[in-house]
């Protein structure tokens, strides 16, 4: 699947997007894998108290995982996952 990064996650990962694959994966599997790969700086913008930070926007094909099953949201190989750290404006 395709994983897209925005805001400072682009600096932390060094890329705007990359491919990621794992059979029968969930959003939790993806995030844990990215934390392992990109370390504490990634983790502190995405995780809080061992769980997905409530202000982080993760969209699977445009749908917010906070409206789905959060970390338990199941991913398919054709999915596009976008990740925004806590950001806002108005």
């Amino acid at each position: 699947m395709k994983v897209k990064y925005f805001a400072n996650l682009r600096d932390i990962t060094g890329t705007k997007e990359e491919d990621w694959a794992k059979p029968e994966a969930t959003v939790g599997d993806l995030i844990r894998d990215l934390v392992a790969r990109y370390g504490h700086e990634f983790e502190r913008w995405v995780m809080k108290d061992g769980d997905l930070w409530s202000l982080v926007i993760i969209l699977v094909n445009g749908h917010d995982v906070r409206q789905l099953k959060r970390f338990a949201t199941v991913l398919a190989p054709s999915d596009v996952v976008v990740i925004f750290p806590p950001m806002g404006g108005g």
Binding site: F6, N8, L55, N61, H63, P85, P86, G88, G90
Partner: protein, 602 residues
């Protein structure tokens, strides 16, 4: 009084008479300041049916009690009047340093009435207040006006002024202060121009007193700490500005493009805050007492669109960008500069150009009218030129100066104006995000995101995440955000502080500052009172429930692409619930019981 100075200036521009009067403490308590106090004065003193551009309209500059204190982002003021664009109550908010300086000079409000026989500006240095001839400044842009007035008053003068757009009565002219900050929406600058008032220059050397210094310091430090620890208020806005929203809104399918024809733009990333930060951004900038620093000091080197200034914010980037099908950030920023330099609202300017592009595509606007300009989608050069023509009052710009509603109406297609109450809808698609559509439909000043920013819970997830596609619970959510915003605007604080603090902190800061006890409940009740009073003004002006509607496109044409494909706005389902929860009847008229409860019975 503490927090409030206790003094109002009244300037009769017709006669040149200037008087000061005391601020009524009960009025101050119930309406707080800024937007609330200005609306109360308008309600008491102005016939809502007046022509906005007539001498009978009044123009009120109002800081709030927190303005000029060290409360976080406590530097804002409002310009309250009957809007030239909308014919509705207008309260345009601006940051910078002007509001604080007005308080330091010793005033809670400046009321301008009548019309000066010749262009003038007001010069205030503490107790000394005088009207000065501005004929030699008339016609100058914001920078040259500010320079000229400083040269003949004081190097430290803080200046709020209009540019050519306000002078030419462009219906969406803004009032600019500190060069780049705008009381932007609803045409407050046109009202200023109609009064022959070019500028208000202020130097103040006093301060704002506090009822309980220790308590105020304690809660301000707590509030600042909460904002700094919030990832948006403390870090995100400084890094990327508000334009970071571009990709967020686009990815959820709520980024309007082509005059609202769809909700996703494939190349939106070229316009986003991430791109801005890596290309045009020189440094972030903060307003008075601000710890957030969302302002963008930028420079465009590209010769075609070269310039320096501030911006763009998200709404400006979207309007000149995606809404016109343009992904050239240099051009977008140039158009923003032209608006700032000449005093125009970027949202209405941009959305009016997008509307013109659609009218041109349909063959309703022709080259014969435009002076040979092909107003085609995606043409960045044309977009910038149309902005310039409007600012200068030249050619087809004279027609664009009416805003999109009157433009589209003149071709028999008012339905193609993406506006509510004749004010253009900002950068959030009501089909993709249900609550914000209800806010746009019901905002008393016409469509505005800064009246009830439900994007925070519906998209960003702060202070909690709610389903953007749901309609259940949205009327109550919208009302809560609208009331909170009305009260917050009235303090002189900044909406962006809500990325960290809310009603409890504002009630606490106001109480310690003023010595008047505010609770979270009474603070929100003030917001309800202000909102309802604005509604009453509009109803008396002739607006009705028929004005609480979105353009038919948003109700009938489903989004074609993006994550919200297939959606339409469900405002018609939500509106009756909204009226009922507000304590209004089925026609959107506040009931006697509601008015009584808010202390608004006459």
């Amino acid at each position: 009084m503490h927090g409030w100075i206790g003094k109002i200036v009244r300037v009769d521009l017709t006669s040149g008479k200037i008087t000061t009067e005391a601020l009524d403490p009960v009025m101050a308590r119930d309406y707080i300041g800024a937007r609330g106090l200005g609306t109360k004065i308008m309600t008491d003193e102005v016939d809502p049916k007046v022509d906005p551009l007539s001498p009978q309209n009044k123009l009120i500059f109002v800081p709030g009690p927190l303005t000029g204190t060290y409360a976080p982002s406590g530097g804002r003021y409002n310009v309250v009047t009957k809007g030239a664009l909308t014919g509705a109550i207008a309260a345009a908010s601006s940051g910078g340093t002007w509001g604080a300086e007005c308080k330091f000079a010793g005033y809670d409000a400046l009321i301008f009435e009548g019309k000066a026989p010749n262009p003038v500006y007001l010069w205030i240095k503490d107790q000394a207040i005088e009207l000065r001839d501005a004929r030699h400044i008339w016609g100058k842009n914001i920078l040259d006006t500010s320079d000229a007035i400083r040269a003949e008053t004081d190097d430290d003068a803080k200046i709020a002024c209009i540019g050519k757009a306000g002078e030419n009565l462009v219906l969406f002219a803004a009032i600019m202060n500190d060069l780049h900050r705008a009381a932007g929406r609803s045409g407050v600058g046109a009202v200023m121009g109609s009064k022959n008032l070019k500028a208000v220059a202020v130097v103040g050397t006093n301060g704002v007193t506090t009822a309980d210094n220790a308590a105020f310091e304690k809660i301000v430090l707590l509030a600042r700490d909460k904002i700094q620890k919030h990832p948006v208020g403390g870090t995100g806005l400084r890094l990327y500005g508000t334009d970071v929203l571009t990709n967020i809104l686009n990815q959820v399918g709520g980024y309007p493009i082509k005059n609202g024809q769809d909700g996703y733009f494939a190349t939106a990333d070229k316009l986003g805050g991430e791109t801005l930060a890596k290309t045009l951004l020189k440094r972030p900038k903060a307003c008075f007492s601000c710890i957030i620093s969302c302002g963008r000091v930028t420079k465009v080197i590209n010769k075609q669109f070269a310039g320096e200034g501030e911006g763009p914010e998200y709404e400006s980037s979207w309007g000149f960008g995606g809404d016109c099908l343009i992904d050239n950030l240099d051009a977008v920023t140039k158009a923003n500069y032209i608006c700032n330099e000449n005093g125009m609202d970027t949202i209405t300017m941009a959305a009016t150009i997008a509307c013109a592009m659609e009218l041109y595509e349909l063959g309703l606007i022709t080259k014969a009218e435009t002076g040979g300009i092909a107003i085609e989608w995606g043409n960045a050069e044309v977009m910038v030129e149309l902005t310039r023509l409007t600012a200068m009052g030249e050619g087809f710009g004279k027609k664009l100066a009416m805003g999109s509603y009157r433009l589209a109406e003149s071709y028999g297609r008012a339905d193609l104006s993406m506006s509510v109450k004749k004010q253009e809808i900002p950068a959030y698609d009501s089909r993709a995000i249900q609550g914000i559509g209800l806010n746009f439909a019901t905002a008393n000043c016409g469509a505005a995101h800064v009246r009830g920013y439900t994007i925070a819970p519906e998209v960003l997830g702060t202070p909690m995440k709610v389903d953007k596609d749901a309609v259940d619970g949205k009327p109550a959510l919208v009302i809560l955000f609208q009331n909170l915003t009305a009260a917050l605007d009235s303090t002189g604080g900044c909406l962006f502080t809500t990325f960290g603090i809310g009603a409890p902190e504002y009630a606490g800061m106001l109480s310690a500052l003023t010595g008047v006890e505010y609770t979270q409940e009474s603070f929100l009740n003030c917001g309800d009172r202000i909102w309802t009073m604005e509604r009453q003004f509009n109803l008396a002006a002739g607006l009705t429930a028929a004005d609480d509607v979105l353009p038919p496109r948003l109700l009938k044409e489903p989004l074609k692409t993006g994550a919200s494909k297939g959606s339409v706005s469900r405002v018609p389902e939500m509106l009756p619930v909204y009226y009922d929860l507000r304590g209004w009847d089925a026609n959107g008229v506040p009931t006697p019981a509601k008015l009584e409860a808010l202390g608004l019975s006459r």
